[in-house]
């Protein structure tokens, strides 16, 4: 999709900014709160602030647990941070409600060499509303001490999970509680995509299609196999992974830095998720400018600075194994530290953002419906096919209204 086609309309030189006014602007990103990555990102912001004397970027304080709600309330009320790093469901909601500044004539995708795969998702109703801040592909993280040989097929995956589960150690971990609704959604995405399903064909919801049900049955099979620490939340089982108590986890590349900072000695690697289809979820997080911002020029200046090749490399280092807006070379040093990085980078083209295609703004609602039904199936209240029939019906009612 040619987001750059509108570029010709503007009289300004593309990719560079007009000189902004003296301003202090705020930047809200849930990444800023991560113990592993927050400090690194803050350092990058400090570097921007000291690189010039016109614009000062300050972190806005929005804690992760209520990030979307808080920022959207502020923006709906006519305020909010100048710059926001959104996750996809909130991004599409905000964009389609006119809360974000269109960037059509301010960002030239070709000139900036933005990676087209993920970039195409940032155009809503034919306007560009953001630039990729982070694109994290989902891979299979595994503990090499527990699992010397990564499974290559789904059957091997199940078998490995079973074999590794012993005493205190669990073969696998994923989210499966209502308390982590958004996390369950991210996790089941990989199963649905990996078995060839999708929540919609772009125009019609396909929640109850056979492929979706097959993927979710695979998820349920692992749940029923008692190979995961049931009821544990991500905060707990990720620490368990870092301490060698969990063998495998499907997670996004952003997790590499967190794991490393939790336990520098952990011997782990990442491989492609061994499901039939080579397709997996991607955590896309665009950086956007609030339409209410009084300092849009200043905000744009920061984005432009961030898109420069040097800064992109630094940002990527901070974010761990995620990729950023433009193609960057991994440094020899980080390749030595994380030899699996190319595996994750290679997945960028087959990554799918965690929204319902064609129903971006309604994703949060559909998510709630689907996750509630899937969890009811896990609890043995109904089989997965029935669960998805119900979900399909409820979701159709929702989008119909």
């Amino acid at each position: 999709m040619g987001a750059g086609t509108l570029a010709g309309c503007s009289s300004e030189p593309q990719g560079s900014s007009a000189t902004p006014q003296q301003a202090t602007i705020t930047f809200a990103a849930s990444t800023l709160g991560d113990p592993g990555r927050g400090p690194g990102l803050q350092k990058l912001i400090d570097e921007y602030n000291s690189s010039q004397h016109v614009v000062t970027v300050q972190p806005a304080s929005v804690p992760y647990p209520t990030f979307g709600q808080t920022v959207l309330t502020q923006m709906g009320g006519g305020e909010g941070p100048d710059l926001v790093r959104f996750d996809m469901p909130e991004f599409s909601t905000a964009a389609s409600s006119g809360l974000l500044e269109p960037l059509d004539d301010k960002i030239d995708a070709q000139k900036l060499k933005l990676i087209p795969g993920p970039d195409k998702y940032l155009t809503v109703d034919e306007h560009r509303y953001g630039v990729i801040f982070e694109n994290s592909n989902y891979g299979m993280f595994y503990n090499k001490d527990l699992i010397p040989q990564a499974p290559k097929t789904f059957e091997e995956f199940v078998q490995t999970a079973k074999n590794t589960t012993k005493g205190d150690v669990y073969g696998l971990a994923f989210r499966q509680t209502q308390a982590e609704e958004a996390g369950v959604w991210q996790d089941i995405f990989n199963y649905v995509l990996g078995f060839g399903g999708d929540w919609s064909d772009g125009g019609k919801l396909t929640i109850d299609s056979p492929k979706v049900i097959e993927g979710l049955k695979a998820y349920q099979q692992l749940y029923d196999a008692n190979v995961i620490p049931k009821g544990a939340d991500a905060a707990t089982f990720r620490k368990m992974f870092a301490n060698g108590k969990v063998g495998m986890e499907l997670n996004n590349g952003g997790y590499v830095t967190a794991t490393k900072s939790a336990n520098a000695n952990l011997n782990f690697s990442v491989a492609r998720i061994p499901f039939p289809e080579k397709k997996q979820g991607a955590l896309l997080a665009p950086i956007t400018i609030n339409a209410n911002s009084k300092h849009k020029d200043a905000a744009l200046d920061f984005i432009n600075w961030l898109l420069k090749p040097d800064q992109q490399v630094k940002l990527q280092e901070v974010l761990g194994a995620s990729s950023v807006a433009t193609p960057t070379e991994r440094s020899a040093e980080s390749l030595q530290k994380f030899p699996f990085l190319p595996v994750l980078d290679e997945l960028t083209e087959s990554g799918v953002p965690q929204i319902v295609k064609g129903f971006g703004p309604q994703t949060a609602d559909i998510r709630h419906i689907v996750v509630s039904q899937v969890l009811a199936a896990l609890q043995g209240q109904q089989d997965m096919a029935t669960a998805m029939e119900k979900a399909q019906k409820q979701a159709e009612e929702l989008v119909g209204r």
């Binding site: 705020t26 849930s30 990444t31 709160g33 991560d34 113990p35 592993g36 990555r37 927050g38 300050q58 972190p59 806005a60 304080s61 929005v62 804690p63 992760y64 647990p65 209520t66 808080t70 309330t73 502020q74 709906g76 009320g77 006519g78 305020e79 941070p81 005493g167 205190d168 905060a235 707990t236 990720r238 620490k239 368990m240 870092a242 301490n243 108590k245 952003g254 997790y255 830095t257 967190a258 900072s261 939790a262 336990n263």
Partner: protein
């Protein structure tokens, strides 16, 4: 003294210890958890029930951060401001509700209750718009006003209840002597309802100290963040340190306990004053 329900001093002491144990254990457990290593936390074979003081650095690290201190100070300002304001407004309001007859008095009493029924989550959007108009966003005094709006109804109801308990003969006698209502209130009634004032102050303080929804939505700048928001910020997207979150949670709990201990003196002295009168 009074009302011993079939308990000797020994029996009572044991019962008190059990109650205290139940009351304090979770907070103690935060302390133990904060001082545990990952290894210890994620082992199902053994469990540490005693704090490991060699890891006390968790607390030092949390405090050295500087942010934690700022958060606590902000919370203190908001909570103290809310307490002073809601007691200051609640006393006349409670007095009026208790002593004066005026048209619509029942309606005001009911409205006070009514306003308590809506959760913050519902009021946050209209209140945001109002605060924006009055330029109260992103400030601690704005937060004090929002929290006072929430605390005031309860405070006035409690104070009204307490003033209802003061015999009318007392203030009528004073009025015959020529004192005006404010004087009566200050000289005669306030000393008598001191314990209720202290109790209401504790309620106002804690509700503002703990408030999250308004704080996270109305305050944008990190240096103005109160502790409830700061603590929530420790729950990360990729990574949450159970130990530091427990340490910070505990640091957040202690000042509130300290405030209670401070207010308690007045509750107690008020009590003794009341006992002498009784």
């Amino acid at each position: 003294m009074m009302h011993r329900i079939r308990l000797g001093v020994a029996g009572r002491t044991i019962a008190v210890l059990v109650v205290l144990g139940l009351a304090i254990f979770p907070v103690y457990w935060m302390f133990v958890t904060a001082l545990s290593s990952d290894e210890e936390l994620f082992s199902s074979s053994s469990v540490n029930i005693l704090p490991n003081f060699s890891r006390f650095g968790v607390f030092a690290a949390a405090l050295a951060d500087g942010q934690v201190v700022t958060w606590l100070l902000n919370s203190l300002i908001v909570a103290a401001g809310t307490t002073v304001l809601s007691i200051g407004l609640g006393i006349p309001l409670g007095y009026a509700l208790s002593r004066f007859t005026f048209r619509g008095k029942a309606a005001v009493g009911l409205a006070l209750l009514f306003t308590q029924m809506l959760p913050e989550a519902l009021l946050v959007v209209p209140l945001f718009a109002m605060f924006r108009r009055f330029d109260l966003l992103n400030s601690l005094h704005g937060l004090i006003l929002a929290d006072t709006a929430f605390a005031l109804p309860v405070v006035s109801l409690i104070l009204k209840g307490a003033i209802d308990g003061v015999p009318r003969d007392l203030d009528e006698a004073a009025r015959v002597d020529g004192s005006r209502p404010p004087t009566v209130l200050a000289r005669i009634i306030l000393p008598l309802i001191a314990p209720a004032i202290a109790a209401a102050a504790v309620i106002a303080f804690f509700s503002a100290w703990n408030e999250y929804v308004f704080a996270v939505t109305f305050v944008f700048d990190k240096p103005l963040q109160p502790a409830s928001v700061g603590v929530a910020g420790f729950i990360g997207e990729q990574d949450t340190s159970i130990q530091s979150i427990m340490a910070v949670g505990l640091l957040f709990t202690l000042p509130a306990v300290a405030f209670y201990l401070f207010a308690q003196r007045y509750v107690v002295s008020g009590m003794t004053a009341g006992a002498v009168k009784g």
